[in-house]
Symmetry: C2
Subunit: 236 residues, 2 copies
């Protein structure tokens, strides 16, 4: 596709527009899902795809797909469709996968270790640089190639290693203290699994509070009510 350069021009223009006209939350919420499906198609060796075909695979309307992709510029080509690899890469870029973010996992309990053991981070361009814990029993040990540090070194470590993201897998009680230490040390993204709604004064810090219990309740609601409403997932 020799016209990629032209497409790129549109892309950059739209990105600029976005400052004034920010992309809606509804669209943003769908981006990771597009990214997953496109990754899948890429692995299957699919070179191009039309909004109609993607619509069938993902169970959303082709109209919505075109609208969504257009928020960010001309990702496609009339009469041809979308280049899977290019689209996948662009959406990844939008989602910050190419920012080279660096993360620490605070709390080396089961959940911390479970997260450290997956490829979740690396697959999304995030580098996990270390684990932290307060228990002498695990400090100094290695897990999956990550050294478990003493949580008392958390602040200094983040400063010295330009850490951007702090993953909180500590008990509720310690969450605020750890968060504060990290924010103080320049961390500006917090991924909080501590089962409480963490808020940070500094508005430049982004927080994602994960409430797995909410997902469990949605499942139960579905079981109780939905019964014959079929698969939920993205629907609820």
């Amino acid at each position: 596709m020799e016209s990629i350069d032209k497409v790129k021009g549109t892309f950059d223009k739209k990105i600029a527009d976005a400052e004034k006209n920010p992309v809606s939350v509804a669209v943003i919420r769908r981006l990771p899902r597009y990214h997953r499906y496109l990754g899948e198609l890429l692995r299957e060796g699919k070179g191009r795809i039309s909004s109609a075909e993607l619509s069938r695979i993902m169970g959303v309307t082709a109209s919505q797909i075109r609208q969504d992709f257009n928020c960010f510029g001309g990702f496609g080509q009339q009469g041809y469709g979308y280049n899977v690899k290019y689209l996948h890469s662009k959406i990844g870029e939008l989602l910050g996968m190419k920012e080279g973010y660096r993360a620490v996992i605070v709390g080396a309990g089961n959940l911390g270790r479970a997260l450290a053991a997956t490829h979740m981070f690396e697959r999304r361009g995030v580098t996990v640089v270390a684990l932290f814990d307060n228990s002498p029993a695990v400090i100094g040990t290695e897990f999956n190639g990550f050294l478990v540090h003493d949580v008392r070194e958390l602040g200094d470590f983040c400063r010295e290693n330009s850490v951007n993201i702090g993953v909180l897998t500590v008990p509720k009680e310690s969450a605020y203290e750890c968060a504060a230490t990290m924010v103080e040390a320049g961390v500006h993204g917090l991924w909080n699994f501590a089962n409480m709604e963490l808020t940070v004064e500094d508005k430049s810090v982004v927080v994602q509070n994960v409430h797995m219990g909410d997902s469990l309740m949605t499942l139960c609601f579905g079981m109780k009510t939905g019964k014959d409403r079929g698969i939920f997932d993205d629907e609820i």
Copy 2:
């Protein structure tokens, strides 16, 4: 409040209406969050709350709160507000907390154990009855009071113990097989952490596919784009 009975009448009426006019997904998605905040207020000993006050605490409009609660009937009382305990209990009921669902966790790795170690299930009225794994090293051991069974007994166990919910914390490769076994054995809710979009033929089976990676990407998007858009969480 002697008028609880009257309120209850309205409630049941609305529940009946709901069959024709199903509650929107947007509302359902907000229920677990209401439930969490009301639980918090309850623990603080708060007896009643107005939509205006709850609106301030939760950062949503009072109008929306009243609309949402009204989907299910008159939870409140004019001139008074809402009874925290009653409302909390009713929303819990709506979410299926009182159905007495029973769950098994399939996959006793770090994630499976992390889930088993929390109070997430019991707090939501779900009883975890056992863990399953395929590794001889863990089969027969006990974790947090739960016996780890051989995954080959999964089907029989579910049948004999009226298991409703299957939590999948196994690798992608085994997810479908485990899911099929459980569905076959009468499980009709699947909570899938296997990082793939699990679909089940039988439309009476409800599936919640958890994509933690999507949450991570949303965080990264926020960090890249939002910067000064403030806290995301429920917003994105």
